[in-house]
């Protein structure tokens, strides 16, 4: 309790009142100008940390969205190639069925062989499909043409083998990886004409071509190839289905990632963004207080003196 006050103390006190109101006024105007509640971490340390964590989370989610959209582009190219391969195999199947009926003459079979050879060429060029400069069926050897003709006849697969680390993965959410490629040897196989060995549909097609061109035609091999071609069509279709399912999964994941982003944005906005109405009200209140303290100060400093009454 102070029983006596002095002019200096009164002046200082009034100055302090004005200062504190002015500081508050400036703070609120700054918030309104920047539309942000938190300007420096000390304004609210916990929320600042949360905002930084949300920023990181959002940047990660945006990265996943980008990954998935890039992957979908590649998968649609992959799907087109697989569709073309399937229809080529279908055509080979038709030819094989035709050839299997032993009524065909040598000439007919010769022309079918030419067609089969074209199908082989076509399938090989589909196996060498490139997207964004990378061979998509080469496993991770994306810089090397995966299906290359061998000088002694046939075609070899130079990509990463299906037993090896062929997968190219993308991250679609925290720690979740999705492989977006299929190795060429699983899809098409290979064939070495010198040793007459190979795998997959390529082996079947080459052998089918040889059987058609043989004199006399090797009808047993032609008949045997029917099942193998069917098997090739089925496995290609299976691969297609798998990637179609993955595309669907990406679409779903995209939706949920977008939802998370929306939630994070609103959460961040709650912490960081200013409630303009509240701030404007606050500003008006502070302005009132500032005006009042100045009015009081001018009264106290100018007028209240005994000298005025003498």
């Amino acid at each position: 309790m102070i029983l006596r006050t002095t002019n200096q103390a009164t002046n200082n006190a009034n100055l302090n009142y004005i200062f504190s109101n002015q500081i508050k006024y400036n703070e609120i105007s700054q918030q309104i100008a920047s539309q942000k509640k938190i300007l420096v971490p000390s304004d609210n340390a916990i929320d600042s940390m949360n905002i930084l964590n949300i920023n990181r989370q959002m940047s990660k989610l945006n990265g996943y969205l980008n990954n998935m959209s890039m992957a979908q582009n590649e998968l649609s190219v992959l799907d087109n190639s697989l569709a073309s391969i399937t229809s080529s195999l279908q055509k080979a199947n038709d030819l094989a069925v035709q050839a299997a009926s032993e009524t065909n003459g040598t000439n007919n079979l010769q022309s079918m062989k030419v067609e089969i050879d074209q199908i082989i060429e076509n399938v090989i060029s589909l196996g060498n499909t490139k997207y964004n400069g990378q061979y998509i069926f080469a496993g991770t050897n994306t810089g090397t043409t995966p299906f290359q003709a061998v000088s002694t006849g046939g075609v070899e697969y130079t990509g990463t083998p299906q037993d090896g680390p062929y997968q190219r993965n993308i991250e679609i959410s925290d720690g979740v990886l999705a492989p977006i490629n299929v190795p060429g040897d699983r899809l098409l196989g290979s064939y070495d004409a010198a040793t007459e060995t190979g795998t997959g549909v390529l082996k079947t097609l080459y052998q089918l071509s040889d059987a058609m061109g043989a004199v006399p035609p090797d009808f047993d091999t032609i008949r045997a190839s029917l099942d193998e071609i069917q098997g090739g069509i089925t496995s290609t279709t299976n691969i297609r289905t798998n990637f179609a399912a993955m595309t669907a999964r990406f679409k779903m994941t995209e939706t949920s990632v977008n939802n998370s982003l929306l939630q994070l944005t609103s959460y961040k906005s709650q912490m960081q963004d200013l409630d303009l109405a509240a701030a404007a009200t606050n500003l008006a209140n502070t302005e009132l207080a500032l005006n009042a303290s100045m009015a009081v100060a001018s009264n106290v400093i100018q007028q209240l003196s005994l000298l005025d009454y003498m």
């Binding site: 102070i2 103390a9 300007l39 600042s48 940390m49 930084l52 990181r56 990463t160 993308i170 003196s305």
Partner: protein, 511 residues
């Protein structure tokens, strides 16, 4: 007893009231003088008596007028020492809050231009490279973003270092101590000590027993108050009016002699400025009093630049930033070059476009020391040839291993994993969560200093108004005194003139 004695009384009253008016006038003129203590004339009746008449029964005694007993100076030693103590603390917190807000501004990650933004671009570049591991433009982008991170570390590190150098100098930079804040503050404190000792000497010289020169005392009190803004001060008054002054128990002034001088010397990297105390002969009596300066702005400067981690200091922030720079570069270098679980990290040979063992680190130190925020930089070979970045990671003993597997992105996936999972190099935090912890910590500590400052400011203004209430000038009070002494002066003059008239009457009786 005679008329002349009444005239003498009146005359003396005139002189006394004139002196009293003088004091009032002095008070009024010093109403705005900082550190001025109001003075009050203490009057007393003269104790000599005079007797009336000659006869015994008429014997009565009357006083012989008024006298100035003393001019009292209003002070309150307790309030003053309390005020000094609170003022020291206030100045400590004020200085600390200034420095903390400086650190906070440097490390402000909320405006989106800080280290987090650099990390974000880095990881985005890693995602892009992950999608196209053999693409040169993705690799160039990655190298650029790595460079951005390193440069951001450099920028923040040097801002913090400059802030610290401005406070306490840098042991490795010649002349930086002499231009530092602590040096100028200590010089100021020494000047104050000198002036206080001189004021002590003047006071002893001028004052006579019981009569102390108010003006000099005010000056000295003001000097002590100014010194208390810099260092914690305690004083003991001597009987001759001088004071002994000590800083947290270390005697600096004894009477009119300055027995101690502060001296700043360069110390070590962790304690760049050390304050010593030298005695009269220039001998060092205390070789390091930094820990004694727990209050006042010099103390704040020392503490904010010191190594201790509990409170927010520039050095602790630098240490955390260094740790982040070291941890981040260790993680990235480990993934870049080391064999992990039998799998080798692989870069691309730009001539053959085949995989080759990655041997070049991404980050290196520019000065050969351990990597920190200041010396972190990107290996120039990586910048020149981004194919040296290891995006692939394969088991080379696997029979299916092929050097053509340039589309392998396993190593980039490891880089991306750094973002999600903590690493042992950073106390199991990810780089970004380590950063947000760090920023949050700075925010919390700055907020705590700010709120201490706010409450200390309230305490100080309370004590200040108490002290002012005891010692300061109130114009209204002075106006009343003025009127009072004016009336007394007028009345005394009246008495004199009445006595004069009566003397005239007496002189005319004989005509």
């Amino acid at each position: 007893m005679s008329l002349t004695s009444s005239m003498n009384i009146a005359q003396q009253a005139l002189l006394v009231n004139e002196a009293a008016l003088n004091v009032v006038s002095n008070n009024i003129s010093n109403v705005n003088t900082i550190g001025y203590s109001r003075q009050r004339v203490c009057l007393s009746a003269n104790v000599n008596h005079t007797s009336f008449g000659g006869s015994a029964y008429l014997q009565a005694y009357s006083g012989t007028g008024v006298n100035i007993d003393r001019v009292e100076r209003y002070t309150d030693a307790y309030l003053q020492s309390y005020y000094r103590q609170q003022n020291s603390l206030y100045n400590y917190l004020n200085q600390a809050a200034n420095i903390a807000s400086n650190v906070e501004d440097i490390m402000n990650e909320l405006n989106g231009t800080g280290l987090q933004a650099a990390f974000t671009s880095f990881f985005e570049a890693a995602q892009t490279l992950n999608l196209n591991p053999s693409d040169i433009s993705a690799r160039q982008n990655y190298a650029q973003q790595v460079q951005t991170v390193a440069m951001k570390f450099n920028e923040l590190g040097s801002s913090l270092k400059d802030a610290r150098t401005a406070l306490v100098g840098d042991v490795n930079e010649f002349g930086s101590l002499q231009s530092s804040k602590i040096y100028s503050l200590t010089t100021l404190a020494n000047e104050k000590l000198q002036e206080i000792a001189k004021a002590n000497a003047d006071i002893v010289k001028i004052s006579s027993p019981g009569m102390l020169p108010s003006g000099l005392l005010d000056t000295r009190d003001q000097l002590i108050e100014e010194l208390s803004q810099l260092v914690p001060v305690s004083i003991v008054e001597n009987s001759n009016g001088s004071v002994n002054l000590s800083i947290n128990g270390i005697e600096m002034i004894k009477g009119s002699q300055q027995t101690g001088t502060l001296d700043v010397v360069a110390g070590s990297q962790s304690e760049p400025a050390i304050i010593r105390v030298k005695d009269l002969q220039g001998e060092v009596v205390y070789s390091n009093i930094n820990s004694y300066l727990n209050s006042g702005s010099i103390g704040a400067v020392i503490d904010m630049a010191s190594e201790e981690g509990d409170v927010l200091t520039i050095k602790s922030t630098m240490k955390n930033l260094d740790k982040l720079a070291k941890g981040f570069s260790d993680i990235i270098n480990r993934i870049q070059t080391q064999v992990i679980d039998g799998k080798t990290s692989l870069a691309i040979d730009k001539d053959t476009m085949l995989l080759t063992d990655a041997t070049e680190n991404i980050f290196e130190s520019s000065d050969g020391e351990e990597i920190n925020a200041l010396n972190i930089r990107v290996n120039s070979d990586i910048l020149e040839d981004p194919y040296l970045i290891a995006a692939a990671r394969l088991d080379k003993t696997d029979p299916n291993y092929s050097a053509g597997a340039i589309g392998n992105n396993s190593n980039m996936l490891m880089v991306l994993d750094v973002r999600t999972n903590g690493s042992s190099e950073l106390d199991n935090f990810s780089p970004e969560s380590f950063l947000s912890q760090m920023v949050g910590d700075i925010g919390l500590k700055t907020a705590s200093i700010n709120s201490s400052l706010k409450s200390q400011s309230a305490v100080l203004s309370q004590v200040s108004s108490q002290l002012s209430s005891a010692t300061g000038v109130n114009i209204n009070e002075e106006v009343i005194d003025l009127t009072k002494y004016q009336a007394a002066y007028q009345a005394s003059a009246r008495v004199y003139s009445v006595c004069n008239d009566l003397l005239d009457v007496l002189l005319n009786l004989g005509r």
